[in-house]
Symmetry: D2
Subunit: 256 residues, 4 copies
């Protein structure tokens, strides 16, 4: 059977007069869009426009809830309770769903943003709160999480479909976690190496770690970045390389 | 046929550590709750709790979208475009719908808050933008608006059920509009007079105006206030008086 | 005596991960910087960096208070009371002064932003509230306002030095006010015409209006824009042209 | 020599339509007021009014900077860098100083709020960033911090006067830190025990800890709470008891 993978990208992160990302162009190369919901980025007008664009390009729409920290872009850990995480997840999925419904589409998935995503990786209670929020909004939604993380476990436990996510431009630790950005070897800057890592993850479920031993993982969706001057270029390149390697790029809801 | 009227009250206006209103007690005497959605008041935790309470007490749940002006409590006019009004209405109805769905309930109505409500009274374009947002989220929703206002006309035009709202504690102008709060005779402070005004509006579709001539209006839902030390007392009193006058107090979605 | 004029530009309008403007480059060509204070744009980190840059380049530092409307970039009118305008002006000047003091500089001027600036043009009470806030923080500050506007009158009345501001890229009405942006002929898009208009305003205190008759005005400071791809280019061009016309470009506090 | 102590209380924590605390009454019994600066609580109007009240009652005015987390009341840890802490401290002290200057008063002290205060207790880098911000605004300011904490050390190191703070209603650990609120024995609910603990701290520089051995500490200022129904009552009681015990209640700037 042919290998399949989803390509996802954060979108709709502009805010008022502030522009971020190349949403319209990137949407031609990804199959799932994680749309910011106004807490860490995004605003109602941006959400409407981004949902519309994603629908036009037949890209799977996801809510991308984040911590309420606009000035920190949702990247700073906030010590919140599972209940607070549940509440802000419901709120933000709901808000995005409003635009999806108004535009006549449907929501495919949920992916937590930044610090919320990262805190959930090893925090079962936080992951379960987020998974419960997703499930209660709609049990058909796909929950994204770092491959093998507590988020994936929480999703499976409550009965959601899950998408194990991998990163092309990040190095991995032997336990399958990402090397923290605070370490010098956290990022892969050579696009060719990034693409080779991703292809191996999809085909062999393996990644070479920083300690040069392989870690096992599932690669159902690949995160690519939409911001920065090379973002579009890389999106095109990874898309081509995956196809050339015989991997089908498909919206995640079609195969998980 | 017996006269029917809905009693509505703003709810869920607490924010973080800040408490406002007597939601739990007031819910025993109203049939529709307008729940703040986080822009002018309210936060995700408060929305969850208020939705839950309203469901337990079988009170009709409404989204209560407001301008993004927390420090001004949504009471200061902001010169926004119809498109901006549409967007913030979709966002806020969506967010509240998330909690309603998660708690297994359904949304009954939408009532704009404060300055958004007041600006829409005489602004057809703004009213139509709000009505369109409501319709696109769910054409079964009931749209609240000042009796006879542009909001009601916009709702009817797009095909929504509408609820003509009257105020017990406000005086009226000959054209059926409310006397602006900036005028000294804007408020009715005697509860007995307030209640008599309301009963006449429901039974005769008439209100004595400040110029001592009657204005015609429809009274399908009565706004009562949930804040202040006499709020609960007045809720009990108006509820009793309406019943004593042979008026049935019924959730608005049952009869409009 | 040689003609003198100040060149001012809005600065420090980035916010968190969102970048706006070319502050560092533009600072080489202006004599006064209006630094956003966190309400309509800007954040503490941006304020610190921008103050530092302005001091290094010996540019006069101004507080640029705006309405509390980040998503609307402070460009939407909000119906606020003079007291509210006073309060938010004190707050924002104070906040910026903190950074100015910490960096060992001193504050030169205050210029209201966007809708606050525009609402004050014809609103004496609002202008007086803003002027009072400026005066109470420091009576040595220079108050910027549209040439001939209520803001200038309010500044003079309370005893502040004032800077009559003109716009190079906007057309004027016979009464000396700016043509509203909602009108098609509001903007001057040809840099050459913009520059000629400015030179005439500085040298002759006159501007040709949209009705082809001249209006009288004072041109003590010229507003140029820091955002957009041609901003830097225009800053260089206007700076050169003014000098070539024998006009000295000097920090406003040196000559008003 | 007579024992001296300062009584401080958080103030100005209302926000827009939301009221909190009994500032006016409490101000009769304290010598230092920590006034919220708009990030975790407070708004420009509240800051103006509270500064005015404190000046009228001759109470020492302090800036009370907090994390930018209004919905969490600044009580949730946010993983911010020392630079970010420096920036938000400068911003908030500056903003409050604006009102102090406008009202003709002067700023006495700075006390960090909630999570910012607590995170700084054991974090030297964070404490040094806050102390540097205070020093750069005005080296005459008094820096408040938990008795014996990193904040006090950072203040001393940079050359600020410091005020070692103790809590009447909290239990202590053998190392002099507060028992975390998550533990059941964190709070002292009996006012009599609270007062005895405080008197002993002031007179003997000792406190009985939860492990029944004494810890050494300095008690230069006592934190009392302004919110809750018994706040005023307790303020009166502690004030009387301290005086009866021969302790003079004096504004902190008079004796540190």
């Amino acid at each position: 059977m042919k290998h399949k993978v989803d390509l996802n990208c954060d979108m709709g992160e502009s805010f008022g007069a502030y522009k971020m990302g190349n949403d319209e162009e990137i949407l031609d190369y990804v199959t799932s869009a994680n749309i910011a919901c106004g807490f860490h980025a995004g605003d109602p007008a941006t959400m409407r426009k981004t949902v519309k664009l994603a629908l036009e390009k037949n890209v799977g729409i996801g809510a991308h809830p984040g911590l309420q920290d606009l000035v920190g872009f949702g990247r700073r850990n906030i010590a919140l309770s599972p209940q607070e995480a549940y509440d802000l997840t419901i709120y933000q999925i709901g808000a995005l769903s409003g635009f999806v419904k108004a535009e006549g589409g449907h929501l495919q998935h949920v992916k937590a943003h930044g610090a919320l995503y990262n805190m959930a990786v090893k925090d079962a209670a936080l992951s379960e709160a987020i998974a419960e929020a997703v499930y209660k909004i709609d049990p058909e939604l796909v929950l994204f999480g770092l491959s093998g993380s507590e988020m994936i476990k929480a999703g499976e436990k409550i009965g959601l479909r899950t998408a194990n996510e991998v990163f092309s431009d990040r190095t991995y630790q032997p336990d399958g976690s990402l090397t923290p950005r605070t370490q010098s070897n956290a990022l892969i800057t050579d696009p060719q190496i990034a693409i080779e890592q991703v292809i191996r993850m999809v085909k062999e479920n393996k990644v070479a770690t920083v300690e040069n031993i392989d870690a096992q993982l599932l690669a159902e969706t690949i995160c690519i970045h939409g911001d920065g001057i090379h973002a579009l270029e890389f999106a095109i390149q990874i898309s081509k390389s995956l196809k050339r390697a015989g991997i089908e790029i498909v919206k995640v809801s079609k195969f998980v």
